[in-house]
Symmetry: C2
Subunit: 365 residues, 2 copies
């Protein structure tokens, strides 16, 4: 840590391993396939930490990520993003070498698969259980049937089941709301499963969001979970009541470069290109971009919510701190920022440093 | 363009060259040194486009960027970020090889330079003319004198003058407000220059923001301008009245992956990790993340403000479009998104494709 001179994303491997172990154990307890989403860490080495807990199948959010993890020894990958028909040639090359699943939510993509899939490929139908981002509404069985009809024209194309990302749990205002949105998803899937199980006895139900997978205890009818963020967690999850501060495994460590006593502001080297711009609302109703940990008499201390990252520009971060805490910051100090959204912060960092001092590469580094 | 299959940042070299030429000519007209900020493009090749217009000195926002451009033949660089004392050794190595200027705004940094600078290094004092991000308030001559006193203890350290980034022009609500904030900066600098010119007859005044440098016509007392964003411009600048749509040189080209007629939404492959999360407010007062260009009967058409990027997740972008325009989008089409903040979009893209089909590398690619 004392050798850090620039904004550096530090990962606590012990916390990470605990997060992985807990989720792997939960999947076992509920007899679910654990297919973690690797878009959060995007790292072959961190991916290997999952193998210790028996993980063999993974989820990614892009064809590029699928190629990267396939090169790094993963041979059972679901690309959880609506099939981009412009990438069909690369998808075919991937499907030639690994067990590949893709997502379809419209007839255009189904038609391209029907016409162009040259190797065995699994297809999940993306269902919109309420997040209103992508997916077919579960009541629209006409649309589902049209797609299944198209897919059936190519024997290489195997319909695997229904998949959702209940992203609307991220905007829940209480854990109860997470429970109810999750349960609502399960009900929608039960209806779908009943409708299609006779024709497709092996059809699977796959769900994916970290909030539901972390705190819910009812997984009736579910075959697979695909959470990703839980590996690191972050302020957003803590704020949702999904994890504790102690379970957050990453910090952006940043040098202090200036202090402004007249406005109780500390300027750090660490801005929008390091933390990302995802924000939460602080107690004054204003957006903030991270919470602050400092070293005080040799002990790490999380400052109260009255201290936070208040503004970001490209390389600068502005910390608003209480008058009492202002004195604890000195130019040249390192402060630790807990990010609001670890997926985006990791994507910007492009590499990690572990608390033991080991550098960990990511895709493209 | 038709070979693009993934989110790709396309740069129109002609527009870029026009933007560079116009700013270079303006600097000449006002007898200002043109020291463009390269944090926007972060590319050695795009940097070379500036040489055609006589640019020999540049600005960067980090020591890493200074190292990159020094390796690529630039030997007169200002690091326009408050000196990070933890990087002093690398700064010394750089100063051994090129003409390097750094920014100081507090006595801690000045003390480190006084003690540790081993090669000739130029220092600008960062002045806060109203953006309240970093810098010394111009009235605080005691603070300025303390720093100058510290710097004078090391003969390698050359005080160059006063520098500001009037970042508060970005939040102006009209071009008149840009003019008045710029003029206010000039007045503050006039007072400072008068006070210090007798002791430092060569002291320079350096200003930097794209809004002022683009539209203002009074540069009394200014020696140097350091705009960066103008090379590409973006929606934020267009919205400020600083540039026209025709002067914006970059587009994120994204594949359409889904359509949702019930809510007039188009889903593109292109999310927060491609566009960045900087937003503007649309006519309904809601944040949006980009404007949309489509090809219609072979012609490129900018859709009205009623069509915009309304939501971003890691890889997804959601376009809200009018019912009339909905039909013009097909799965597999490429759409062009004009980014809100081109600096952050370029930082995420990590490379460019020119409209002529040439790939252009950036730092770290």
């Amino acid at each position: 840590m004392t050798e850090i001179i620039r904004p550096t994303l530090v990962v606590d491997k012990d916390i990470c391993m605990q997060n992985i172990e807990r989720m792997a154990q939960k999947a076992k307890d509920y007899q679910l396939r654990f297919r973690p989403h690797f878009k959060t860490h995007q790292s072959a080495e961190i991916g290997n930490w999952f193998r210790i807990y028996g993980v063999e199948a993974i989820t990614v959010s892009s064809v590029q990520m699928a190629e990267y993890f396939a090169k790094n020894g993963w041979d059972d990958i679901t690309i959880a993003f609506p099939l981009n028909i412009l990438e069909i040639d690369i998808i075919n090359r991937l499907a030639a070498n690994i067990k590949l699943n893709v997502l379809v939510e419209n007839k255009e993509a189904a038609a391209v698969l029907a016409k162009k899939a040259t190797y065995k490929i699994g297809v999940f139908l993306k269902i919109d259980t309420g997040s209103n981002r992508t997916g077919i509404e579960p009541s629209k069985t006409d649309a589902i049937n049209t797609i299944l009809e198209l897919l059936s024209k190519n024997k290489k194309v195997i319909f695997k089941g229904f998949l959702t990302h209940a992203g609307h749990t991220y905007s829940a205002r209480s854990t109860n709301e997470i429970f109810s949105r999750h349960f609502d998803s399960l009900l929608k899937f039960r209806t779908l499963k009943q409708k299609y199980q006779s024709n497709f006895p092996n059809l699977e139900i796959s769900i994916g969001d970290t909030p539901s997978c972390s705190i819910c205890t009812n997984f009736m009818g579910v075959d697979e979970i695909r959470p990703g963020n839980f590996v690191f967690y972050d302020l957003m999850q803590q704020n949702l009541g999904v994890c504790s501060f102690e379970e957050i495994a990453v910090r952006m460590v940043c040098p202090v470069v200036a202090k402004h006593a007249s406005r109780n502001e500390i300027v750090i080297y660490g801005g929008a290109i390091h933390l990302s711009q995802d924000s939460l609302l602080n107690i004054d109703g204003k957006p903030f971009f991270g919470r602050i940990l400092i070293n005080k008499k040799g002990e790490k201390k999380l400052l109260s919510p009255r201290n936070y990252v208040s503004r970001l520009s490209q390389e600068h971060g502005i910390l608003k701190v209480s008058q009492k805490n202002f004195q604890h910051f000195q130019v040249g100090d390192l402060v630790e920022i807990i990010p609001v959204h670890s997926c985006l912060t990791a994507n910007l960092a492009r590499k990690y440093l572990t608390t033991e001092g080991e550098e960990i590469a990511m895709i493209n580094t």
